[in-house]
Amino acid sequence: MSASGPSDDLLVKVEDLHAYYGKSHVLHGVSLTVGRGEVVALIGRNGVGKSTTLKGIMGLVMARQGRVLFEDKPIAGMPAHRLARLGIAYVPEDRRIFRLLTVLENLRTGLDRSGMTTTRRQALLDKVFGYFPRLAERRDQAGGTLSGGEQQMLAIARAMMLEPKIILLDEPTEGLMPRMVSQIKEIIDALHREGVAILLVEQNVPLTLECSQRVYFMEKGEVRHHARASELSVNDPVIHQYLGV
């Protein structure tokens, strides 16, 4: 089933994506789009293939069938480091910051790119530390010593170092306290204001409805439904059907 947002200025287009973990057929033909600067959510229960869809776009999982287009160019099969250079950043579900590198070194993995002058690098660093003052305080601390919420901040900050056009954000609020959840919401809003597109996988319904423009609902490896966030409320039967019990 395919559904799309504004047909002009599409940043990412996924068409009939099938993906496997070994023999396990996890994605049975996922189709979705993300427009430039849009925040699009992908929601569904555990095990429906949301994370796998993000990994499929990032080339971290084998896609056997279907296409992924970035700015109208096919990217399926391209290695992840080339996609990062093209402007796709990935923030995985378990954060996966570099535990033995300091906060600053974690950021440098994305900061030290070709074409980055010293001034631009410092400006970007200052900007991101402005968003995450806690990280600035801990810039010389090893990533592994940060709390869960701080690691999530670092994972997002690290992605921002790539100055990406789209961030694939996998369950950023999982396991976080409510105070941190609202911080994440502010970051997503700020990124949206800057024109960064976000493909957000989430199970937190209120956050999703507040941050996104459109929502895709997944079940059993497929996109089953699609709606504008403005048309949905927390108690919508559709929400219950795909997320609830």
Partner: protein, 228 residues
């Protein structure tokens, strides 16, 4: 803490589903039941016998069988062989001299287990050649061949299409007639249709326990799932 003060009871012949968000402790619970992990405190009593802390092979001998989230079959032997090896664990274990084909009773039991999971026509097929859905069902067949009293199924429909899921659900309904079944799943429609009772885990604790209708109407469960 993975599990915090979990009290749990299951009656013979029940089909009980365990649900809960990620990290809720469902797998840890299974691991404790099947001897893969030892609880730090508390007891597990099965069929009147305290099995806390027993190693997995002893627990299997007592009648608890388990299928795994990541398929655990032997890929280089046939489907029948996979199941026969499981059946063999129950007796003739020390008889090393006779050819395995001579144990007719085991072959019959293995065939019966394959029949129960709908794979009898694939008996001579190498397990690695089976489709993913067939492999998952074979895993259930292997568990069945040990003639368990309690069958624990860990996300049996993970990675399956809607059609394969329906087949597996019918399979479980068929075998449920003679067994007690404990199933961890994320597929809600499946769980609602299959289970007599549902237990909901969250952050290592049981937050709800009841019939499918009870659970659907339980506001705390909705809260936990929708994070409202």
């Amino acid at each position: 803490m993975a599990l915090n003060g979990v009290d749990f009871e299951i009656q013979p012949g029940e089909v009980r589903a365990i649900i809960g968000p990620n990290g809720a402790g469902k797998s840890t619970f299974f691991n404790c039941l099947t001897g893969v992990r030892h609880p730090s405190s508390g007891r597990i009593v099965f069929d009147g016998v305290d099995i806390t802390g027993l190693p997995p092979d002893r627990i299997s001998q007592r009648g608890i069988a388990r299928s795994y989230q990541i398929t655990n079959i032997l890929p280089n032997v046939t489907a029948l062989e996979n199941v026969r090896i499981a059946a063999q664990s129950r007796r003739h274990a020390w008889n090393m001299l006779r050819h395995h084909g001579a144990f007719r009773d085991l072959l019959d039991e293995a065939a019966a287990a394959l029949q129960a999971v709908g794979l009898l026509n694939k008996a001579e097929e190498l397990a690695s050649n089976l489709s993913h859905g067939e492999q998952r069902n074979l895993e259930i067949g292997i568990a069945l061949a040990t003639k368990p009293k309690l069958l624990c199924l860990d996300e049996p429909t993970a990675g399956m299409s809607a059609a394969e899921t329906r087949d597996t659900m019918e399979l479980v309904q068929r075998i449920a007639k003679n067994l007690t079944i404990l199933i961890v799943e994320h597929d809600m429609p499946l769980v609602m249709e299959l289970a007599h009772r549902i237990t909901v885990f969250h952050y290592g604790e049981v937050i709800a326990d009841g019939t499918p209708e009870d659970i659907q109407r339980n506001p705390r469960v909705q809260e936990v799932y929708l994070k409202t």
